[in-house]
């Protein structure tokens, strides 16, 4: 039995080493994706194109506009003469938001606590019109609501102390890339692991190797184990690439032990590989196996907590997310890499992936019949 598994492993490794393209992809996919996501994904919106309707046109209004621009949240690209004109510009998509300063800006300003330092009966000094369809844009603009007005007043203004103080652990500078790199581990491993194995059985069938193979004494489980073992190695190569590049290029801290990371990755790689095998026993052609891989990949990116917080999703979506190995790994990798958690702290996720792997292997072996009908 071990000899036959080993025979399949050696065969797969030899074939893999001769497939230059695939070999290159094993290295290039994680590097390119890491660069793309590391530099491109940023949830802190900056330099949003904005418009200005300034009916006041006073020294104060100009100072206020300068102060807003100084936050770098918005760049004022255009000026409009009326609110109606500004609304039309938002509709056209010319600007994402418009700051409306009324003719009575000065009167509002002098009564405002952030300016006067005393609590009068106050109204806001101006109004933001926002294209709220993009929630990230909207919430970024909302963060300007409490903007201090010290600079316009030209002096320090005593303001109310905040109700809470917030201490930010693990990522004090609030850089999104710190959270993205450990998450990207899950996405990239899902993609390559599921993709490689989902094609594994189908390819042999398409190329005609299967008809010979199934007349030999090789057992389905032996074939399955032999097929996935080489890709465990591939998974670890990718893991090393992502963590090293993430650490060197994006200064992502690696706080957890490498042994914990390796163990969590091992569980996840096995779970993803068996998922790919199950696909491979269902798909009839390599194209179908690709389509099914994408079908798994999209929720693994969108629902696993990689892009959006798991806790914010409705319960039904959380159930779907729980079914995906990527969700469990996302949790584990972030916990270990960023928070120095141990695998023993994450027993539920670890056990779940072990269960998934066993079930997957069983289903794949049962589904793979040594027959053609």
């Amino acid at each position: 039995m071990l000899r036959r598994i080993w025979a399949v492993v050696v065969k797969e490794l030899r074939q893999l080493s001769r497939d230059r393209m695939t070999f290159g992809m094993i290295v290039m996919i994680p590097l390119v994706q890491l660069m793309l996501f590391g530099y491109a994904i940023n949830t802190d919106a900056r330099h949003l194109p904005a418009g200005l309707v300034n009916l006041s046109d006073s020294a104060y209004s100009r100072a206020l506009v300068k102060a807003v621009e100084a936050t770098q949240v918005v760049d004022f690209k255009n000026r409009y003469l009326s609110a109606a004109e500004a609304e039309a510009a938002i509709t056209r998509g010319e600007v994402k938001a418009v700051l409306y300063l009324g003719a009575d800006l000065e009167e509002r300003l002098v009564r405002h606590p952030a300016f006067a330092g005393q609590a009068y009966f106050a109204e806001p000094v101006g109004q933001w019109l926002v294209d709220g369809s993009d929630t990230v844009v909207a919430s970024t603009i909302r963060s300007l609501r409490q903007m201090p007005l010290d600079e316009i007043a030209g002096r320090a203004v005593k303001s109310n102390p905040p109700s809470f103080e917030v201490v930010q652990y693990f990522n004090p500078e609030q850089r999104s890339v710190v959270n993205i790199v450990p998450g990207l581990l899950g996405v990239i491993l899902t993609m390559t692991m599921v993709m490689f194995t989902s094609a594994a059985i189908v390819r042999e069938r398409e190329q005609g190797n299967m008809e010979f193979l199934i007349t030999t004494p090789v057992r389905p489980l032996e074939l399955m184990l032999g097929k996935i073992t080489p890709y465990v190695l591939v998974g670890f190569v990718q893991l090393a690439i992502i963590l090293t590049a993430g650490h060197l290029l994006f200064a992502v801290p690696i706080r957890g032990g490498l042994d914990s990371i390796a163990l969590a990755a091992m569980l996840f790689i096995c779970a993803s590989l068996t998922l790919g095998l199950v696909i491979s026993t269902i798909a009839k052609t390599q194209l179908q196996s690709m389509q099914m891989t994408v079908f798994i990949l999209l929720p693994s990116i969108l629902l696993s907590g990689f892009m959006f917080p798991y806790e914010a999703m409705p319960v039904a979506a959380q159930w779907i997310a729980e079914a995906l190995p990527a969700t469990h790994f996302m949790r584990m990798s972030r916990a270990i890499v960023l928070r120095d958690a141990q695998v023993s702290d994450l027993q539920f996720d670890a056990l779940w992936m072990i269960g998934f792997t066993c079930l997957g292997l069983l289903v794949a072996s049962l589904r793979f019949s040594k027959r053609l009908d």
Partner: protein
Amino acid sequence: MSAQQVSAGGLVAGTSAAETSSTASEFAIETRGMTRAFGGINAVEDLDLAIPKGTIYGFLGPNGCGKSTSIRMLTGLLSPTSGDIRVLGETLPGAEEKLRRRIGYMTQKFSLYDNLSVRENLEFVAQIYGLNRRQTKARLAELLSLYDLAGREKQMAGSMSGGQKQRLALAAATLHHPELLFLDEPTSAVDPENRREFWERLFDLCAQGTTILVSTHYMDEAERCHGLAILERGIKRADGSPQQLMAAMGARVVEVSGEDLRKLKQSLISDANVLSAAQIGSRLRVLVQSSIADPLAWLSPRVAGRALTEVRPSLEDVFVTCTGGRAQLMPPNGSQATTEEAQDAT
């Protein structure tokens, strides 16, 4: 279809052979009523076979006649829709895994790995069959020299010629010394010289006691078999040794030589007693129903003074006679002859 089936029923020889041999173990393959349907259409219909051990048996027929489907059922890759199958004394379906070590299968399409070398391919197969390192080394050396692959161990299988690929495939299929070897159109991608050589190797294997079932659409290959079955649209039209089939053919062969043979062919073929007329160079080969007692005398007024000679039938003539719906035209005495011949064979 059914009408054809009925008329063909009389022609099918060997049925009696299968019946008389149910207890004997001298047969490597025995089937009765083996049928396989795909979506309501029978790819193989009611096939009775009795293939003696240590012989080379051929399936002769055009593409899509059910050769591959039959082989797949006999190797346990496909389940029959109905019928009984016994291979090497084991009943199928059910004993597939038991039989894996006793049978070898060379698929129609090259089924080893193009991006592995000759040695790597054979090593893989050897390990799958459970040979240890020492056994593998010895067997590989044996196979490489036997199949003329020595010196090519490091060549990728994908870069080899048709003949080399075929020898590699045969080496892989016989690596574990199977008692029964299935070859599905083994020579379709091979030139005639390599085909001759290939058949020599098959007879070597046969001499060592291996039973071989080979499917082909080449007449010259079929003629080399000890016994063969002519298949058409999943139905066995005739079986027996090539000599028996030629002797028992329900038609006689006359060659006409002369000018303007294309026109003559058109006029002859319209007669119901002429089963077929095919031009071979400057001669026209005419198959005349055996109900015509003297084909030369019958033909001479119809060929406008061209020269006539009766010749020995070839396997191709047998094939033409019993396929393409011409079997329907077989007179009763034609089928009589086949049945008698089958009894002679047992």
